[in-house]
Chain length 343, copies 2
């Protein structure tokens, strides 16, 4: 069957199809206090708002930088682009509400792929009653997806800058899988992973391509219990915890044996596990700081329990230190992610 | 002097510079009821909100499609990208408030150019007390600028779908200059413009590169006077009026001699003037519909007066008809703008 290309149908026919797709799958669990007055098809989206605390975030995925349609399905690419934004709302303890989607598209793209991309976006957003209310479509090679997501807090939002010395550092779920999956997708002969079974390989690839949903429920619990600071993992546990420490003007001590490494990676060496756990980005777990008793108490109510991995300390030199099982400092070359500097 | 490139300083150094630039030029005229709690540097921006009607819009500019840094200065490119978004808020009768900026950047870009781009963005946004509260930076060639802008209405927003049969169609300011400027930038030997003086040429080029500010004040007046429908000109008077008609399920009859053509184009043939006036995009004037008495009354209070150019009619076939001075239908091949279909 010959597939329709974007250059055959044009921008307005595409927008029409997307609008139908969005309206046919509009979530029915949006807070009625935020009633939509005008969605797609006017100069801006319009909605009513009660008195509240409001949130706005944005995130872009660029072809060849953040995603690669050879290794990933289009619906997974859309799902992840949306989840990256939802996860930022989760880290504040917020509820996602309305979003606008801007696409840069190659005229030679198949419209079925773009509809699939959007289907993934809607799967992720609808899960939390979040609705697409507008957007913008441009020509661009490489392609890109930009989402700006608006949400609100029904309680005090959790920022990055409240961590206190003596508190525990905890992380929800497990870490390391997304980076392992990416490395296997890039080189399925990678010797570092020769000990993994076929099922374990498949599992970490899925963790990369379609991670768990954003931790919205967990973020709400963290906010209502009054944890002191939180951040989501988008650039890796080490990099994101460093940011939280910088914002709070404190340091953190992490115990490598406590890292909740993805189960599929347990056959790797402990150093390899630690490197993956500390550097794996787009993992979308939440890191937070709180007294250890509160972490224990929270774990009784979180859908995805958390693990204490260290504590907040006062230290001048370095914001995050990792200790091995002998309490010796691990000398790890933990790379941050910089879009521009050539390595 | 050797200019610093993006690949020399990296993403985080750039973000640091941009953050300083933004904070040093934060507007001091933001409505205090919408107090910012957390801006750049957390997972999302956070602000307080009173009960209100809220607006969200987004617009993308892609290098080679929407802008060209050979013909335009970087601060003008930024100014226009922001104005495109502000203009959408203006068309609803809203007040712009907070925005997030996503940039796709070439590692070989000069950081001074990116700071200049941002300076233009801030010049446009600060004029209306609108504040940058976050963003995202990615690697991308071609480069792109995406802005998502949040605003609010202190009164009922003006949508596209309220135009009534018998009402007048009016447009603020003048039209046609931006397209003439673009044509001259692309081909300064274009014979169609041989009658223009040097000053007139410079004027229309400026109209293209740095148009007037978004019509925020005018939009507020339109909303408070209760006009029935409005839209801004981003794709051309003809295309945008057609959209307003489609949304309102009516048609419009436009009288060519009434079109408020840019003064610098008065030496052109009337047909050439009409084509430019009808097709000129990124013009950022407001088209609105209202009883003619209301238009007259509004003109006493608008900073930029408007001109009645036709009326809303009921007609099945075509949404916008253009009549010449003899009331004969002008047979114009008015092109819409489609990002994808090959002409």
């Amino acid at each position: 069957m010959k597939q329709t290309k974007l250059k055959d149908i044009g921008e307005f026919s595409l927008i029409n199809s997307l609008q139908k797709l969005i309206e046919s799958s509009a979530p029915n669990n949006i807070d009625p206090k935020f009633q939509l007055v005008a969605g797609i098809g006017d100069d801006t989206a319009v909605w009513e708002s009660p008195k509240s605390t409001q949130l706005l975030t944005t995130d872009t995925s660029v072809e060849g930088v953040h995603f690669n349609s050879i290794n990933s399905q289009w619906d997974d690419i859309g799902w992840k682009a949306m989840t990256a934004n939802l996860s930022d709302i989760a880290a504040m303890g917020g509820i996602p509400l309305y979003c606008v989607i801007s696409l840069g598209l190659n005229p030679d793209s198949f419209t079925s792929d773009i509809l699939s991309l959007y289907t993934g976006i809607l799967e992720a957003s609808n899960e939390y009653g979040c609705r697409v209310v507008g957007g913008d479509i441009s020509k661009s090679v490489p392609e890109f997806i930009n989402i700006a997501l608006f949400g609100y807090c029904s309680q005090k939002p959790v920022t990055r800058f409240g961590a206190q010395v003596g508190e525990s550092v905890a992380v929800t779920g497990t870490v390391g899988g997304a980076l392992a999956g990416l490395k296997l997708l890039t080189n399925n002969q990678d010797k570092a992973f020769s000990s993994l079974t076929k099922l374990e390989r498949q599992h970490v690839i899925t963790t990369h391509n379609r991670p768990h949903s954003a931790r919205i429920h967990e973020g709400l619990k963290l906010a209502s219990s009054g944890v002191s600071a939180a951040i989501d993992i988008s650039d890796g546990l080490y990099a994101d915890l460093s940011r939280l420490c910088d914002a709070s003007k404190v340091s953190a001590k992490i115990h490598q044996p406590l890292l909740p490494v993805n189960n599929s990676l347990k056959s790797l060496s402990s150093k390899e596990q630690a490197l993956l756990a500390l550097q794996s980005g787009e993992e979308y777990e939440l890191i937070y700081t709180a007294p250890s008793a509160l972490v224990q108490q929270l774990n009784n109510s979180l859908l995805t329990p958390s693990t204490i991995i260290g504590e907040i300390i006062q230290q001048e030199a370095q914001s995050v230190t990792v200790l091995d099982r002998n309490n010796d400092q691990l000398c790890l070359q933990v790379d941050g992610w910089d879009h521009f500097i050539k390595k």
